[in-house]
Amino acid sequence: MSREIKLRKYHAQVWDEPLLMDLSVEGQRGLLVPRAEEEIRARYGSAQDLVPASMRRRRPPDLPQVAQPQVVRHYTRLSQMTMGNDVSNDIGVGTCTMKYSPKVNEQLCSLPQMADLHPLQDESTVQGILEILYKTRDFIREISGMDEVSFQPSSGGQAVLAAASIVRAYHTARGEGKKRNQVITTIFSHPVDAACPATAGFEVVTLMPDAKGYPDIEALKAALSERTAALFVTNPEDTGLYNPRIDEFVRLVHEAGGLCFTDQANANGVLGKARAADAGFDMCHFNLHKTFSSPHGGMGPGCGALAVREPLAKFLPVPVVAFDGKKYRLDYRRPHSIGKVRDFYGNVQVVLRTYAWIMSLGAKGLEAVAETAVLNNNYLEKLLTAIPGVSISYGPGRVRLDQIRYSWEKLTAETGVTSEDIERRMTDFGLQAYWTSHHPQIIPEPFTPEPTESYSKDDIEYWAAVMREIDREARQDPNRVKSAPHNGVTGKIDESAMLFHEKCMFTYKKYKQMKQAG
């Protein structure tokens, strides 16, 4: 990075915006629902009578009473105070794969043919979306090498929980459900890969990395036993390292009688390059809301597509979309199914975006996505490792795929400025605050950028230039960094209160109580 990069001026838009509840004025309405016509009332009675008496509220809910323009202004102001993907540069938010979602895909989701669908419509009236679900299933089968897919899970975590439930159903069906009660994972796999098996009742056995930064295969051998139910691993891990012996891991677990699941939330670096089934895995999932166009990180609708091999297909959640050559239908008659992990068939608009995105890129295009994401990440690595305070803890010198977990440990030791200080300070330069690390944080002072395929060379260089500037600032004026943000919506917030339940306000009711108590 030889040329000079001009750091941008930025200041957040600040509104002293009250809570929506506090905007409430008795009698104000956002919408006046017209009275039903006489004929309709005569035929159906009052709308309230349609709700069984036992399910009716005794008192109306305490909703805020606000007129439409006030509501629109309120939320527009709040949106002005955030730094979204369309405004800023989200390279820092690694493991989240904050790529750009083409606007045409958003337009498709807004079409009435999509937006006005209801999940309870008769199959014959929703053949179009069922066709898209079926065809996207075929794409996911091709990309993963698996045989059947469920789009029902609405998040990666829900897909992993469904996978853990399938592991239990599989061993129970073979009469080994009680005995096989351990799931093995790795410390740099995503926390869901430990949490979901634990939720499904398994004991979790975690492997640490070896000297090269890869999961320790000797530790795996030591952990395997007749109690092994499954292996749940992310690959590449959040260090950006792809386990080169992953097929050997899978073979060892299979030999011990366990199943193998791979968490592919980090699929962006291997799309079209490596298939889970080819490494021997029995199951995998994709976060369609990371890798396949839908924006991630807004707590909006997501989809954890769960793909399995044929012997496990009978355990998938119901319904599964089927096709007889003429008509698409929803197959609920699956006696071995683990049941539902949520209602209906998933967030279908996320599947629609996936379909549109894959169609627009084609097979070669998907490979180009992975190649560009890896190239971008390696370019960013060159820029960041040239900064004096930045280091890489595990597997230094090894080629990374989509992301890297770096450390500011050197800078912290020399200046006292921590990764969290930098996380706040970077927002002063108009950048989204970065992602430090999953827990447990075993890399000190971590940060995990992931430049995906969406960001330009200029974007990547700007991001690295901000890191370099803060490193310089930390050495000259550490308090400037430690007291950040200076140009944001708020100043530095004392986050330690979040540690104590009694100091937190999770509901408006609690807020009012605490306000009254001073």
Partner: protein, 364 residues
């Protein structure tokens, strides 16, 4: 503050215990280090100047540094300036405890930590500003500045949890002869840095305490009748006894059979007799920062006992924070018998929480 802490380091004396060593250090041109390091830590507390009350000991044992950092302070006790001794450290710790301080901040090394531990035990939270030559104990902040920051968070009430921290020391005389023999002297209660265990944003914050509880529940829920459980030293293993409603020996080995203490603070003879009489399991924790499983602080679990019980009946329990603080270094065994050491090496499944295991290497 131990004013002479660290003086032996720069001049290659491997420690500063004993008056003639101090004299030799001075001869070799050593200068006091502890004051500068304590001052760095106090800088991080400067923002709280008007909100905290500082109590200290006279002159070079704290008063000078505290005043230089711009704090008003109450000075307790009296010393002979220029001729301070470990007794002064112990007396200072006792006086500060009696005065009701919320946190005892000391600057020194392992020797100082031992004196503090002997004086106040785990009765009040203590934090070490690293200023010594030897710092094998797990009671120190990673730098003086970080120690100050941690102290600030604690006195402001932003963190409330404490963790057990081993007070270790090596025999300096032996160390000068190139023999390392670290010994466990006790435990201090140290404010726990939330980041190490669980970041502020995860909203947990009680990570260390809940991990300890989870470990204890896991181990106790698997206890079998008619089996002797040899519970090793440390607060991790103490929590196991606590869950069983028992109180044991912090620095000793207790024998538990059918949820009752059969022998408290047992010596090798009693332990050997137990494991020869009935099936037995050994429950041990890990020495933080060093990673010793056997051979430090639990020598009564001798090679003969370990050989008899076998590796498969050793239950290792430690919080994730403690294991991650080893930064990938293996657990260590040094029982004195090479065959037993070899038998114990390989991989062990550490109990890190309720239904949680971490596979970790053991070396000798």
């Amino acid at each position: 503050m131990n004013p002479i802490a660290g003086m032996g380091g720069r001049v290659g004396l491997k420690g500063t215990d004993g008056r003639d060593i101090v004299a030799r250090a001075v001869e070799k041109g050593a200068r006091p280090e502890a004051g500068r390091r304590a001052g760095e830590a106090l800088e991080s507390l400067a923002g709280l100047k008007d909100r905290i009350e500082v109590l200290t000991y006279p002159d070079e044992m704290g008063e000078h540094v505290v005043r230089a950092a711009g704090f008003a302070c109450s000075v307790l006790g009296s010393i002979r300036s220029g001729q301070t001794t470990p007794e002064d450290t112990r007396r200072a710790a006792q006086d500060l405890e009696a005065a009701g301080v919320d946190l005892l901040l000391f600057a020194g090394g392992d020797g100082t930590a031992r004196d503090i531990c002997a004086a106040v035990g785990d009765r009040l939270p203590v934090l070490g500003i690293p200023a010594g030559v030897k710092m094998h104990s797990a009671v120190f902040g990673i730098s003086p500045r970080r120690a100050g920051e941690l102290a600030a968070l604690y006195v402001e009430g932003k963190i409330r949890g404490t963790r057990e921290a081993e007070v270790m020391d090596i025999d300096e005389e032996a160390f000068r002869q190139e023999r390392v023999c670290a010994k466990l002297y006790g435990y201090l209660r140290v404010p726990s840095e939330p980041r190490l265990v669980q970041g502020v944003k995860a909203g947990g914050g009680h990570g260390e305490a809940s991990a300890l509880r989870g470990i204890a529940l896991d181990v106790t829920s698997r206890m079998e009748p008619g089996v002797a459980y040899l519970i090793g030293p440390g607060t991790t293993t103490q929590e196991i006894l606590h869950v069983l409603g028992l109180s044991g020996t912090l620095l000793g080995v207790d024998v538990v059979v059918d949820r009752r203490i059969e022998a408290a603070d047992a010596d090798e003879r009693v332990l050997l007799e137990t494991v020869e009489r009935m099936p037995a399991r050994i429950v041990v924790s890990v020495i933080g920062g060093q990673g010793y499983l056997f051979g430090r602080g639990n020598q009564q679990l001798s090679p003969r006992i370990l050989a008899r019980v076998g590796k498969e009946n050793v239950i290792v329990a430690a919080t994730p924070g403690k294991i991650f603080s080893l930064r990938g270094l293996p657990l260590l065994v040094d029982t004195g018998d090479p065959d037993v050491d070899r038998m114990l090496t390989g991989y062990v499944q550490i109990v890190t929480g309720l239904k949680e295991r971490l596979v970790y290497p053991v070396a000798c």
